[in-house]
Amino acid sequence: MSEIKILIDGQEVKTQGGQNLLEIILAAGIEMPHLCYQEQLRPYGGCGLCLVEIEGSRKLFRACSTSAEDGMSVITQSLRINSVRRQTLALLLSDHRGDCIAPCKNACPGGNDCQGYIGLIANGRYDEAISLIKETIPLPACIGRICPHPCQEACRRDLLEGTLHISHLKQFAADLDLAKDQPYLPKVETASGKKVAIVGAGPSGLSAAYFLAQKGHQIKIYEAMPKPGGMLRYGIPKYRLPREVLDKEIFLIEELGVEICCSQKLGQDIELEELRRKYDAVYIAVGAWKSSPLGCQGDDLPGILGGIEFLKQLELGCAPALGKKVAVVGGGNTAIDVARSAIRLGSDVTLVYRRSRAEMPAEPWEVNEAEEEGLNLRFLSAVSGVFEANGQAAGLRMQKMRLGAPDESGRPKPEPIPGQIEEQTFDNIIAAVGQQVSGEGLMGLALSPKKTIVADVKDFSTNLEGVFAGGDATNRGPGIAIEAIADGKNAAFVIDGYIRGEQRTFAKPFMVADANFSKDDLKSVPPCPSVPLQYQNPQSRVKDFSEIVLPYSEKEAQAEAFRCLECGCDALYSCRLLPLLRQYEAYEQNPGGSMHRRGLDLSHPLIRRDIDKCILCGLCVRVCSEKVGAMALDFMERGFDSQASPPFMQALAADADCISCGECVVYCPTGALSDRWPLGKTPPLAATQKAIVCPYCSEHCHMVGEYYGDWLLRVLPEGNERACSLGRYGLPLESNAASLDRLDKQEEMTLLRNIQGDLMRFNGEMPEFVGINDLISYLQNLRA
């Protein structure tokens, strides 16, 4: 082949004649999106992404199927080309059904990989589970206990027997780790020489410290209270979060080199200006510690306690003694926490709330538990005044309410019933109607009308250079702990950049989500009851502040974890479509357009088929035909309803020509085809790759192992090589042999047959096996 010269985007490139343009462009290091092209296979010309303009023609050409000619001038990027690419990608997305990440992970404000750690727990990989959890949450034992778990609201198992107890499983993994002599600690990079001051050792501050410390920065947290923990210690009662647990987890953060100085209040013991001078960056996470007043006549009478105030004092040991009859005004979690604490202190407690039970912001299970403990509930009663006796608050004047039309929050607006006023005396009145930022010590910082710190939603910056803020103290005001933790983590990312001189913002990357998922999609899932949480019985648990929820046993945890439907895509880290969708901002899925919903093919023990994710690039068909020669797959039907599938869309396991070599999985650019484990869960994980040599015969094929920690996830052939099915599936099978009892006899025999399906490269003797255990012993012997 003679050498020729072509121009690519104006640059001269020398190449061999006869090559296709895409090969040349990629070899020159120029970016060119492509999905259906693979150099070992004949060019297909399907996806239409590798379009180029060629001087002298008005058409656009597919670079993969256009031969280079001497003197050709090629343009790889233009408005026209990019517009077509964007449309094509949007069209692909419009018929691409799936979820890049599971709805639980998507719903978690902190982006915790619930599907990931639940899968690891199911597989008995507890060390890997905690290390995965700690990639996003530094205080999992605490969060697992107290989070209102938005992840569970999104869990699709709720369409069947009930959501997974994701939170409790997190607690299980975290507690297991805390019980070790050496609990898990993330790696800390070499010291950067930079220092960051954090104000507030609550969940947000602790989280920021945890992540910044890992980057090698020196961290000092200034905490106003005598002990660290913020609301975790001073706003949440012990029976929900035992202090030993909190202390242990904070200690692990300190082990990363974080210094926590308590009894240092901003504006009193330290000044913001001083911090700005001494440190490279400051993160303010002071929380919202002021109780909102009742907002009625008499609300300034002595003797009325704020809800937050009361809990704080209780923790500090200086709470006033409560009388026999206590009123707690409010409907949120704080009100319930206050009420249940008061019950444990021996009082007869009445909760007064102006709307009905259904509108209470408190978590329903907390209200139920409180009722079990003897809480009196008084709904549709608005406090219209506090009456006094001897200069002290002595009781409440309550206006009876009824539900009217909905207000802006969407909830029915309560209306007073004229003439119906009641009065009741109480020994103590505690107002738990809201939290506010106290605003002390925040001089110089711009505040919102609500008195919260104004922090940019994308980069947590404030009006002061180098000062960042997050958590309850900012913008919308108080949220839940996991939101504060998420802020800490994301702010740490931005601050780390700021310190290095980089502009960073935090934005949640685009993910594909299935908006129309319904119970019908779960038709073939066998029923499995949820493992309920166990509680101490109400009569005994109100006697003290000991933890009321009992932890899962290992057996319970695994049983519950096994219910996970694995909604998130297997190909999250290897998908070649998702990066293109993001790059070209091809986000609209055509609303109202028809989308195929054909469901999963889980018939094959080693290969999972999710045909609704298929983009019809044809790589599986072509590799099965051109490279492997088994011809087990082809396109079926025509046009919009085409599928790349076994004959007549039958199940893959019934395909007589399939030899289970797994090459189709290797080449599939999306999650339409993936490796799966019949012995456990297959959580998508960011794996590290290590070169390995297959140990099973003298061929010593070069393979690539994908590991998460020490756990071998899967083995792939290296480069364009082909592996035999033993090489591909033998090692992972061995490393999961402990779970073999999960299979029934038929599944076992199918697995046995499939693992020996493609022995083309195997250089050895294969005896007859009676069962999978024989095969595994045989493999182990081969290795020895």
Binding site: M631, A632, L633, D634, F635, M636, E637, R638, P646, P647, F648, D655, A656, D657
Partner: protein, 165 residues
């Protein structure tokens, strides 16, 4: 000869058809056409048999059989009604024919009626545009149709069946 789906298929004539084609894989479409001519459709058993005897991968067979509109994988009715969906016929309200046929046969498009008599679908232009709208029943072409003429044709076919029995 058409066979109802629940009867087993007689494979003895397949050998002769296979022998006609020197290169079964390369002449796959012609081979399938001959088989469909014989059986009225392409029974699964016949396809499995061909895959085996002529050494053609089943996936390839299935891919070809499902691509082309001509091939039926299920036994169609005794009377195959093809309503022309060409432009001239469309413009002359061929859609109304489809509505009447659906009504009179009692089945949706691409389905066989329960009595096994009728199967209907719309097809690409039959090339008889001057007679629009047009439909073909087995190989008989009917042109210049309207709702009542179409209904009458179906009634007539039904009557024929009754008298035969």
């Amino acid at each position: 000869m058409t066979k109802a789906n629940n009867q087993s298929v007689d494979l003895s004539p397949v050998g002769a058809i296979l022998a006609k084609h020197q290169d079964p894989k390369g002449e796959l479409i012609a081979l399938l056409q001959d088989l469909q001519e014989l059986y009225g459709y392409l029974p699964q058993e016949v396809l499995l048999y061909i895959a085996d005897k002529a050494d053609i991968p089943m996936a390839r067979l299935a891919g070809v059989a499902t691509f082309y509109a001509q091939f039926h994988l299920e036994c169609p009715g005794k009377y195959q009604i093809l309503i022309c969906n060409g432009t001239a016929c469309h413009v002359n309200r061929s859609q109304e024919l489809a509505e009447i046929i659906e009504d009179k046969t009692g089945v949706a498009e691409e389905q066989t009626s329960l009595d096994g008599l009728f199967f209907w679908r719309r097809v690409a232009c039959l090339g008889c545009c001057s007679l629009a709208p047009v439909m073909m029943v087995n190989s008989q072409v009917y042109g210049k149709l309207d709702k009542s003429k179409t209904a009458a044709i179906i009634d007539e076919l039904r009557n024929q069946e009754r008298t035969v029995r």
